[in-house]
Symmetry: C2
Subunit: 357 residues, 2 copies
């Protein structure tokens, strides 16, 4: 067998393209976050969460923190999916213990038609600036992932004005004013497209779209209000000269994996409620898969955690196309030492799985 | 076509047995609840939520309230799934705006082995007493549903001590002490069995098992820690001389509908993220299906609500075996008038769907 020209610098991008790798690459959603004491220190220095996002030097600092501790195979831009609605004039704020809140919400056709599409270089210039800074800081050690929220997910937050379990406003809009909701989602699709293209121009080497609320829709509505616009993005984004791969994570949408495999994304993110083997069958080898350890496994003993990592890798089975991740973001009360256990276990067990069959 | 001996008094039970009915029967999860001003008045008079559950006259009063307003086809016992852990000595309390809280939690093998199985007639005597009272009050107008939480779901609440998004304690137990968790779940299975049998002896004409947290498990864990014990209950409960039907609602477990169709339940509850047509294919006509309108449809206009009701009934298609319900409990800020719209629409549109093909 020929040795593969592979390592931390390109293992992740090769896996997204379903090319052979030396071992399974791993990164973790929210890897730069509250479970790290050094993150909490920077967050405090920043004053507010939005100030942390809006200051490229600070966003760069926290992006780098987990890479200094763990042998992760990718960095992900530190930011928030709600920067776009904020730039549309909704006035984003983070209330301690409550999550994001908008000063204004978007609930009527008039509200929707009054919205403009933000210019990412101008209205959101702090994001490409952070991307450039992080790329320089990374020095090619690992690739950098950019990201955005999906149009449907952004629309949910904009209609509800903050976190919700009921989705009463967005769904009222969907059923009573479907034309207006389509206009909102189409506007957001264009905004997300320009935003991700700006990140790619600034140096993002992969982009991920978080469809966090796709799973709250009935199947027909999912296709119409979430997946259609995920397809428009996966196929419409100018990926630049390096043909940057696109990862789509539509949470709670395992029902639709077969359809999602055909939207033009390079990889799909998965939560832990579907096995990787089953997901691989449903997606028929058309996409790479990213996931899907239950984040609660980080609360178990190191021995249990290693066993669960091994199970996820075995479920994927042999061959390329697997990026290891949690099925949801790492939780704030996890012991950071458990991340070392996880990352080392992925790389150790992944060597067997990624051997050319 | 022969007229069917059917109406509000037995439409629901006939549908659960997949027998022909005159129109689609309907009831709604949490139909006796906070969206009704008369419920809020009784709740206030009761002093506390647990006092409302523990006083058969008050539980009967609120059970009857929605039936006086709407042409519902079944009543459901007013109670809570956490009465069993409360009777095991965990000290249940409901904190306003926070939900249930236990004074004690169950997190170690020692905690588990110290638990006894409550005697439903003695430790939980207020529940069969309420069932008897409600049956008398109903006078045969519509059937009465009894219910319990699933063993896995009760174990989740007992380990976490209250509501959670992380499930850190129960999953730590699952991965680090699987033998102890099996002992807990087996003990709860026996407790739920005795509890539902007491409800059946007291007059419950159908019983429903709420596996509210089945969907937080990875597939292999779901089979081992949730579904195995749902099967034990569906097959093990003494259903009495009237062979009381068993409904299982395993929320978020649409991945497992094919397997769930074989556990011995008469009907499966469904949330709205799978279409009834697809669910019917997966369950192969082995069970009746109960669901599955998105509860947020009650926030839409009456015209939109009617259209969504019609869509759900059309998705099920022709033939018996459909009980209409929401895919989750009705939310407290819904206008009660919308329930009339829903119930009337189900009965109107259901006449077409239930015609013998």
């Amino acid at each position: 067998m020929q040795p593969i020209d592979c390592g931390r610098h390109n293992r992740f991008l090769r896996a997204l393209r379903r090319e052979p790798v030396d071992t399974t690459p791993v990164w973790v959603m929210r890897q730069a976050g509250r479970y790290l004491p050094e993150y909490r220190a920077t967050r405090q220095r920043a004053g507010s969460f939005m100030n942390l996002c809006r200051t490229p030097e600070l966003a760069c600092e926290v992006t780098m923190q987990p890479l200094e501790r763990f042998e992760l195979d990718a960095a992900i831009l530190f930011s928030d999916i709600l920067t776009i609605p904020d730039a549309m004039g909704l006035g984003l704020d983070f209330v301690e213990g409550e999550g994001p809140r908008f000063a204004k919400s978007v609930r009527t056709p008039e509200d929707i038609d009054a919205l403009g599409i933000p210019d990412p270089e101008d209205d959101l210039g702090y994001v490409p600036a952070a991307v450039k800074l992080i790329r320089r800081e990374l020095g090619g050690k690992v690739p950098l992932i950019g990201f955005a929220g999906s149009p449907w997910t952004l629309a949910c937050y904009m209609a509800e004005g903050g976190p919700t379990e009921r989705f009463s406003h967005i769904k009222k809009l969907m059923w009573d004013e479907p034309g207006a909701l389509h206009r909102l989602i189409d506007k957001l699709t264009e905004a997300v497209k320009r935003y991700l293209e700006a990140q790619i121009r600034a140096g993002a080497q992969a982009v991920m779209i978080f469809d966090s609320w796709g799973g709250v829709l009935a199947p027909a509505d999912y296709h119409e209000f979430s997946m259609k616009n995920l397809r428009a993005l996966a196929q419409g984004i100018d990926r630049g000269p390096e043909n940057v791969p696109v990862i789509v994570f539509s949470r709670g949408a395992n029902e639709h994996l077969g359809a999602l495999a055909d939207i033009g994304a390079d990889a799909l993110g998965l939560d832990w409620t579907v096995s990787l083997g089953e997901a691989r069958r449903r997606t028929g080898g058309k996409v790479a898969l990213q996931g899907n350890l239950d984040p609660a496994a980080l609360y178990a003993s190191p021995a249990s955690l290693r066993r669960e990592v091994d199970l996820v890798i075995r479920e994927y089975g042999r061959g390329p196309g697997h990026v290891f991740n949690l099925g949801h973001g790492i939780t704030p009360d996890v012991n950071p030492d458990q991340m070392s256990v996880l990352v080392d276990a992925v790389h150790a067990f992944g060597r067997g799985a990624t051997e050319l069959a």
